[in-house]
């Protein structure tokens, strides 16, 4: 049984599943990376995802347009981000806790809207798979990497893009400075509030897209609380990736693949209690971090509201 784990079917299955499952994590975690890099901890990701999830689904369901659906998720995410930015930047509220507040708001609101506007679980036709000619025909991996829907491709393109923005642009420089030493950035005329508004709203948008990737690309349904803690895992993955987009990618893939592995462990009938199998991705994520000693520290100003102390 154990040896079956190493068959090509299983390995390809794990890889493919990992690639897919990682998609929502990537969007949300990259968004969170931006806000954390600028010194803002957003624990409301899950709520933003749920609202994005619903908005995308509902608009797609009613208009039949996937792109309008995606746009709706973006708009809703941006709005949530705007609110979060106002509360944490202007009102200087505790970030962690206001994030929990926004999480609860999103959790409840998405459900409430779902009940009022939809009433019951429905399905939509999600983003179709895009076969990349040539590449998708490569045996084995072609199917995995080059036969996905557009939001999956988008998630992976986001990784180098995020790296580029953070490390090669003036905006990225400002973001990093604001997250490490907002006083210094401020003293050079960098508008700390504006930078944080930008990253928080961007985080909201990407969380919204993460939600959309579930409801109109990967699962094509909406159900209350369907993210089921995914947003919190996404936040954790930012720490796993040590605020580096590629690290976040690694974490998302690791977590998703181990999750897929545990499904296979159960399917192959390997005699491990199902609950113990379900623990695997969580345990392994921690163990990997223990094994790879990293000295990277969080952005110094993370969770600290900025204020000129007069």
């Amino acid at each position: 049984m154990i040896t079956e784990l190493f068959s090509t079917t299983v390995l390809i299955g794990i890889l493919a599943s990992g690639i897919r499952l990682a998609t929502p994590y990537l969007y949300a975690a990259i968004g969170e990376t931006f806000s954390q890099k600028s010194g803002v901890l957003n624990l409301g990701v899950e709520g933003q995802m749920l609202l994005g999830c619903f908005a995308a689904f509902y608009v797609t369901f009613t208009t039949g347009s996937l792109w309008l659906g995606l746009l709706a998720a973006i708009a809703v995410g941006a709005l949530m981000g705007l609110a979060m930015a106002f509360v944490t930047v202007n009102l200087r509220a505790q970030q962690g806790i206001s994030g929990i507040g926004f999480y609860l708001f999103g959790l409840g609101m998405s459900d409430l809207l779902f009940q009022r506007l939809m009433g019951t679980v429905e399905t939509v036709q999600g983003f179709p798979k895009i076969y990349i000619p040539g590449l998708s025909e490569i045996p084995g991996i072609g199917e995995i990497f080059f036969n996905q829907n557009i939001l999956v491709y988008g998630a992976y393109l986001l990784v180098p893009l995020a790296w580029f923005v953070l490390n090669k642009t003036t905006l990225g420089l400002k973001i990093r400075a604001v997250g490490e030493n907002p006083d210094a950035a401020d003293s050079l005329g960098v508008n700390v509030a504006r930078v944080r508004y930008f990253t928080i709203i961007l985080g909201g948008i990407l969380s919204g897209v993460a939600g959309a990737s579930l409801s109109i690309a990967l699962l094509n349904v909406f159900q209350q609380n369907m993210t089921s803690g995914l947003g919190f895992i996404a936040v954790a993955l930012v720490y796993f990736g040590a605020w580096h987009p590629v690290g976040v990618l690694g974490g998302a893939l690791l977590f998703s693949m181990v999750n897929s592995l545990q499904l296979w462990v159960q399917v192959l009938g390997i005699p491990i209690p199902s609950d113990i199998a379900v623990m695997m991705p969580y345990v392994l994520t921690i163990l990997v971090l223990v094994a790879t000693v990293s000295r990277v520290r969080a952005p110094s100003a993370l969770t600290k509201p900025f204020e000129r102390d007069e």
């Binding site: 299983v10 679980v121 579930l214 699962l219 159900q223 369907m226 159960q266 399917v267 199902s274």
Partner: protein
Amino acid sequence: GGSTAAPEEAAAMEPFRVAVVMPSAINDLAFSQSMYDALLLIQEEMGGPEMFEIVYSENMFVVDDAAAAIRDYASQGYDLVIGHGSQYGSSLQEIAPDFPETSFAWGTTSETFGQPNIFAYSASSQQGGYVNGVLAATLSQSATIGVVGPIEVGDAKLYVDGFKAGVAATNPAVTVNVNYIGSFSDVALASEAATTHISAGADVLTGTAQMVVGAIGKAEEANALWFGTQSNQTSLAPSIVVANQVYHWEVALREMISMIQAGELGGKAFDATLANGGEVMEFNPDYALSDDAKALADSTIQGIIDGSITITLP
């Protein structure tokens, strides 16, 4: 105008009042909805909200909150307070003695704690599971079937065990792979579990609890067949859903209500079965089930009803 009427008349005029506490949302297309739909049906039968009042608390997954709700409903004089979730048992056991005039019901279980005002209800979900299993084994070409479950307990476990028994009885060569994903709400993981089953060769899938909506979509994508339970899930994927085991709690509820109206407040356990109509197999009219298969399903149902088929659970 009830105040001026004679007492008997007033009693007849008074609506029957039911309160129900449910662990998930009333529209979950699964366990909670099955109860809510049944109550609505009875309401219609009894003449609308004036005659049959329903109040509910949904998403009461916190046992402690549910207990508070149950106590509150009881103190407000509802005729029947239903704790629709086996986790509410201990709360009911504690509360019921304080409200001897109120009738309580809880499910799914057969335990009434020997209390005169507690009804218990359960579903022999292994029965519908068995029927689904028999059909699944017949329809599977790849001889591999996948099951997606939440956690390995209660109603879910019962259904899955029944399903496996049905498959084994029909074709022992068919493999049933089971995945418990450890959650009632993780739609994404449920769908991934379905994909895993499909990769492992399954061409027929089933699953239980509210998160399986994700799995149904994956089955549809892969053109694998789906068997539903708890509610009728046909609408989610009309092309691939073959049959659903649907709970009709109204069967038990009707009996409870008439007992209560007759002054008997509890002490009885109801079991929803294929025989008593508490469970019904609903087939998807749009799915072209071969006559042979349909006949096999019907004979299996009949066999379970008349007792010629016994389901042995592990």
